[in-house]
Homo-oligomer: 498 residues x 2
Amino acid sequence: MSKLCINALPKAHKYLKTKYTITQLHRSNVCAYSTLKEPKEPIVKTKEIPGPKSIELKNKLNAVQSTGTVQFFADYEKSTGNYVCDVDGNLLLDVYTQISSVPLGYNHPNLLNVFKNENNLKTLINRPALGVFPGKEWPEKLHSVLKNIAPKGLNKITTMMCGSCSNENAYKSIFIWYQNKMRGNVGFTENEMNSCMINMPPGAPKLSILSFKGAFHGRTLGALSTTHSKYIHKLDVPSFDWPIASFPQYKYPLDENVAENKREDEKCLAEVQDLIEQYKKKDIPVAGVVVEPIQSEGGDNEASPEFFQSLQGICKKNGVALLIDEVQTGGGSTGKFWCHEHFNFEHPPDVVTFSKKLQLGGYFHNDDFAPNEPYRIFNTWMGDPGKILLLEEIINVINAEKLLENVNKAGPVLKSGLLSLEKEFPNILNSTRGRGTFLAVNCANSKVRDSIVTKLKQKGIQTGGCGDIAIRFRPALIFKEYHANIVLDRLRSVLQSF
Amino acid sequence: MSKLCINALPKAHKYLKTKYTITQLHRSNVCAYSTLKEPKEPIVKTKEIPGPKSIELKNKLNAVQSTGTVQFFADYEKSTGNYVCDVDGNLLLDVYTQISSVPLGYNHPNLLNVFKNENNLKTLINRPALGVFPGKEWPEKLHSVLKNIAPKGLNKITTMMCGSCSNENAYKSIFIWYQNKMRGNVGFTENEMNSCMINMPPGAPKLSILSFKGAFHGRTLGALSTTHSKYIHKLDVPSFDWPIASFPQYKYPLDENVAENKREDEKCLAEVQDLIEQYKKKDIPVAGVVVEPIQSEGGDNEASPEFFQSLQGICKKNGVALLIDEVQTGGGSTGKFWCHEHFNFEHPPDVVTFSKKLQLGGYFHNDDFAPNEPYRIFNTWMGDPGKILLLEEIINVINAEKLLENVNKAGPVLKSGLLSLEKEFPNILNSTRGRGTFLAVNCANSKVRDSIVTKLKQKGIQTGGCGDIAIRFRPALIFKEYHANIVLDRLRSVLQSF
């Protein structure tokens, strides 16, 4: 194995100045690495990002694919740890991480090793229809990887490919559960079986999923009917008439606005109850409520544990399922593996969806949300066993490197730094919020926000916007206190330029 | 590299009797393999399939995941070429190939080599948000891999993950194209921007996609509204009120039923035109028509090139987009890379979706179906660059091994054999049909069909049902004439047992 290991060692980057010891794992089945090399600080070589090589590639790509959203082209061979390298040689400290989907940074040696195991390689290339012909390792992987991280109280796992299809299939599970309950666990009628084939009730019933203003749950037609973050995502696409409640809009700092924010909670909760009643009268009863623990795409809007507890109470009272969408929040960056663990729910949520940092998609649920009949929740692939092998190693590294502890150290440094900058630049920044390293701050307006994001990139920090005026921070779990200080320093210098 | 290559050679299977030379590729960047070892014929070791080890694993899996659809657990390490090996040591000749999604059989050496290249490995594990930060190789891969296989006349590619999300996003592209046309390419109104956020017209317009009875286009809520193959897929799930036309139901043999089948075409086409008009009056205008070149899940229902040409004419006349769903038919098994190439369309179809054998999902389209504004068709991953590396090698092998020619040799052997068996067993089999190796035959009834599929498996042939009474054949592209003869021999012996 030695030759393989040597070849696999990350090549020293030509801009490398200092080594940080990030991982000291010595696992029996992988090569031993002791350093993941990062530059001491970001390196920006081009006057503008995208630089000339990115622009050239953009033109080439544009001939075959839309490029309106492309920021730059990355060199993933040269990217390392918290730093993404672009094709023009810029090395950016990445606190956006591919829209919050990179848990261990770039080229983590343990992940590079996963497919050097020949059996894993065979699992990867012989992708099965998991619902019909799973590989012999599949049950064990589900137990040892996914069951191991399952939210408390949820013993079943349905695997999928991405966030949208996880939510879509979770909605279907909820509809099936609801109708089964309504018909009293008896069989289907001929009328139901025939009418559903032509998209009509009673077989294709008028049911709804209640969602919140500002929510983002994906972009396929069912998921999009519960997404309300930006009009450009929804315009011109037909939608279901499903109820939409207000999500709390808090005033910051939280400890100075306790009473007002509590009233905001109560107002939104009353709206939920009211909409459930309205849509029952409208003959489009609410089967489930879907909610993000922190509305991410919609502007990093958070709500109190009490709000979520009461929301669960309303769901229970009305016989409605509660789905917590942890696609963006799941995986550890809020300081707990699942963000909803912060809420001290009395009962487990009914369904929890995941994707992004977990590499594959899916949802945890209890037996009630597993249909009794086969082929009701199904697709060709039902996930991807190659991705669960990566997830397995990600979980190993999170545990071995105590990365949740790391998040709980780095997060407060970044958050308190943002709070200080708010005080220093009160006309530009406000409303710092979030948990762990899953943080955001509002800017004076959207023009200022966009300008800060652009200028930060020019100073070597890759962030992203969310909502109309927020900057979101989504570093990898290996982001450390000194990285936070680099971000804060560069942000201060950007703010000074206004 | 030599040690690596030796380790990577497929291990001789303990039941191996004979070697067949399937691949003789010698590519500069991969190790040279000259044999992919297969057994001489299927080997069945257990009295029933699933055997005891599969049943044990099923019980284990059932504790965490629904297993109602699981047929057996496979040993993908020991599977090879056209043969899938199960955990009980049964080696089945696989003519179902993971619901038609395995192009080169199991453990093709060229695919095993793809991720032995360190750069490819880094592409695999550093999965980017392709819409925002694509890797430097992405434009070249799109040109050299996907553009290279693009249906004639379609110059743009939107990449996705699976068949359902490919169709969902293709529908969105069609809706956006349609509305843009309707408003005359002017900007959006305030009313449109605001109303779409609450799922209401005019921003979220009442538009529809026309589909066909018996169609299968996926299971997410938009795609499911166009799926009409089996009630169990649709029951209890809310649906859009979209028009559904009859798909031709031919009488076989085709050459003895020309006039009647032509009338069937005309009846269905008239229905399409009629539904377009009806739904216009109903204020749910049809923006697009979606159709499979061969209705696969719904029973391998085919239609004539003339039917498809006339369907395109109706679409053109009514200003409606035509989407050809090649998720199951694409990739070569019909004897052409895209099944719709058999139809001699006057114009290219507007959109062609793909997935399954192509490893990643997506759709080809022209510039009209690429929205002008960014973030309208988007998701976190927009495909998976690791999958395109596999597809690249698959296309290389298809070309180097002349696999389309192979399909066009093996297909007729299987088809003519099925036609002979029809004559031999006229009370059991009828209506053999299909193109290339993408074939099906009807059975007397669904009970007989299910029984034949079960008995065939017990004789070492893995097939699958489709529709109510059909058996579908979906071998890999490396399926040869002698494999066809094995299938036919075993099928004859099953039929004799009735």
